[in-house]
């Protein structure tokens, strides 16, 4: 059984958000991490390796430094790492990104492709289903549980008001929620091996059945008209009183605003 896991290197927006004195986002000061939903997808794949001896290939598209997330994935137990990087791929929206990744995956054999549901930088949740569409595969998104049943997968698919248990024949694509599992840690031996491991690097020339007009910024149907750091609602009052005074303060405000 062969499993491909798509991962993305993202800035760590959770907790570690840094601002410049003028209130804008200080990207340079932010650490990068493996996107949490992707990491849960990787863990799901590694469990298939533990149970069925699946071969796990991690694939990422990004700048050359995105190699770091591949090494991290290999230190956790992935077998192979593929970095898709090329100047012509820069500025891609989800359409161009999914076209690129599908073009890379056409080189590979697979039974299952797992992506994260969404990345914490863009929060679009679009690339996974779009890869499936480009490759003509069934897609099951928002996976909370993944099991293998013969030549099929059985997936618990989360909805706003419950879940469906879905069965799809492989090959297929699944998008994973971070609630799926608790990813394992890298092992010291794994880290050592991963530092030595060969990473496969692919560029534009390695993409199969992909037209230049569908790549990078030029191949992106969506264009950014304007981007700005969010103007946050200004903070109001803040008081530091004893408990009794605090209660009077809040009650007073609720009365002023006719809440009570």
């Amino acid at each position: 059984m062969k499993v491909i896991v798509c991962v993305k290197q993202v800035p760590d927006t959770k907790g570690g958000v840094q601002f410049n004195p003028d209130g804008t986002l200080n990207r340079a000061a932010m650490l990068t991490i493996m996107n949490p939903d992707d990491k849960a997808g990787l863990e799901a794949a590694l469990r298939l390796k533990d149970e069925y001896g699946a071969e796990v290939t991690v694939l990422t598209m990004g700048l050359p430094k995105a190699e770091d997330v591949l090494r991290e994935a290999m230190a956790m137990g992935a077998d192979k790492g593929i970095l898709v990087t090329d100047r012509v791929l820069g500025g891609a929206d989800t359409w161009a990104t999914s076209t690129t990744i599908a073009g890379a995956i056409r080189n590979l054999e697979y039974d299952l492709i797992i992506t994260g549901r969404q990345a914490i930088d863009g929060d679009t949740a679009q690339v996974g289903p779009q890869i499936a569409e480009h490759l003509g595969l069934p897609v099951i998104s928002y996976a909370q549980e993944i099991k293998i049943d013969g030549d099929s997968v059985v997936v618990k698919r989360l909805y706003d008001d419950g879940y469906h248990m879905l069965k799809a024949k492989m090959p297929c694509l699944i998008t994973a929620l971070s609630e799926l599992n608790a990813p394992r840690y890298m092992t010291p031996g794994g880290i050592f091996d991963a530092l030595q491991a060969d990473i496969t690097v692919w560029g534009r020339a390695n993409l199969v059945d992909v037209d230049d007009s569908n790549l990078g910024l030029k191949g992106s149907p969506t264009k950014i008209a304007k981007a700005s750091d969010k103007v946050r609602k200004g903070s109001g009052e803040k008081v530091n009183l004893d408990a009794e005074e605090s209660v009077s303060y809040i009650v007073g405000k609720l009365k002023d605003k006719h809440v009570i």
């Binding site: 927006t13 099951i140 909805y159 419950g162 879905l166 903070s235 008081v239 408990a243």
Partner: protein, 347 residues
């Protein structure tokens, strides 16, 4: 084919178990506003099995036309037959704009359909406008008019971006539930009904539904609450949420919570406020023991009045609170409940 052949604002009318979701009416309301600027009308696309009867309700909320795709294969939501239905409608009727709710269904259907009809999709929009792209003229580049400008948060809510789709049609967006305004219901309003069936032949992409499980909690939707008493990790334990429930009760409100509380298993996911939970805009939002991570703030900052209680005076929640109280929630919250009770009794 020329882009000018694409006309009209289409919205995906999401239904589950033959009940229209609120987002469907919100999209019609927003669609009508956009359609006015474009001098066009709004078409709701209703997909399901035995759903034709829902068309009148869509009309009552402002839909001018309803395209009904009705087929037994569409009984429950599955990506493939629904994507085939919506993509076929787009290819047949060629809308200028296609809006889909950013729900657990729409965020699966939208990307699949956009890839199939080869157009762009902007996710999780919080504001839509008709305008020029580029916003200001750039020498050597054509400025296109009457474009859909789609605004959305990114980087966990730290930045906002406005996005256009100038060279492909339809211009597609998923829209966050709870943000757009639905119109007042006009009983008896009628829409033009168009029945369309592209034919459904199961293939490898049709997944099998083995089991359907509904959350049978009877919990009221926090998106409808006027007052929310929301707790975070600082509440300390699931048992201690009792003091929040008491406060909510005297105010006729409801309890909600942060992601940390859901992750700890203290409260169900449907009570979660924030980027991966629900967007709420109550009259009063109490943030109690919530530090105010940016992902949480993204889901509640539109509340009319925000009251924060936290023992950490540097907690980021104070940056968005109208009234911030630094202190011990265990002392303040029960006393606050009693004080409000006394106030209400005195009236």
């Amino acid at each position: 084919m020329g882009l000018e052949e694409y006309k009209g604002v289409f919205v995906y009318a999401q239904q589950v178990d033959n009940q229209l979701s609120n987002i469907s009416f919100e999209l019609i309301g927003e669609g009508k506003r956009l359609a006015k600027d474009l001098d066009t009308d709004v078409t709701a696309v209703l997909i399901g099995s035995d759903v034709k009867g829902l068309a009148d309700e869509l009309a009552a909320y402002g839909a001018d036309k309803v395209i009904v795709v009705d087929d037994p294969e569409l009984k429950n939501y599955r990506t493939e037959p629904y994507a085939h239905a919506l993509a076929s409608v787009i290819n047949e009727y060629k809308p200028d704009i296609m809006l889909v709710g950013a729900t657990a269904i729409g965020r699966d259907l939208g990307p699949t359909v956009s890839a199939r009809v080869a157009t762009g999709l902007t996710a999780d929009c919080t504001s839509l406008e008709i305008g020029d792209f580029p916003l200001n003229p750039i020498p050597g580049q054509e400025q296109k008019h009457k474009q859909l400008l789609m605004t959305r948060p990114a980087f966990g809510g730290n930045t906002i971006a406005t996005i256009a789709c100038p060279d492909n049609r339809p211009q597609m967006a998923t829209v966050r539930p709870g943000v757009m305004q639905k119109l007042d219901k006009v009983e008896g309003a009628k829409a033009e009904i168009i029945e369309f069936n592209p034919g459904f032949t199961p293939n490898n992409k049709y997944v099998e539904i083995l089991e359907i499980s509904k959350a049978v909690s009877g919990i009221k939707d926090i998106m409808d609450a006027k007052i929310l008493v929301s707790g975070g990790r600082g509440v300390g334990s699931p048992e201690n949420f009792k003091i929040l429930e008491d406060l909510a009760e005297v105010l006729g409100g409801q309890v909600s919570c942060s992601r940390a509380v859901v992750d700890s298993g203290w409260k169900p996911k449907e009570l979660q406020v924030g980027q991966t939970g629900k967007t709420v805009r109550p009259n009063v939002y109490f943030a109690i023991g919530i530090s105010g991570a940016i992902q949480h703030v993204a889901g509640m900052e539109e509340s009319d009045i925000i009251v924060a209680i936290n023992k950490d005076e540097d907690a980021p929640i104070f940056d968005v609170a109208d009234y911030g109280v630094v202190g011990d929630l265990n002392k303040i919250v029960p006393a606050l409940t009693e004080a409000i009770k006394a106030e209400l009794a005195a009236k």
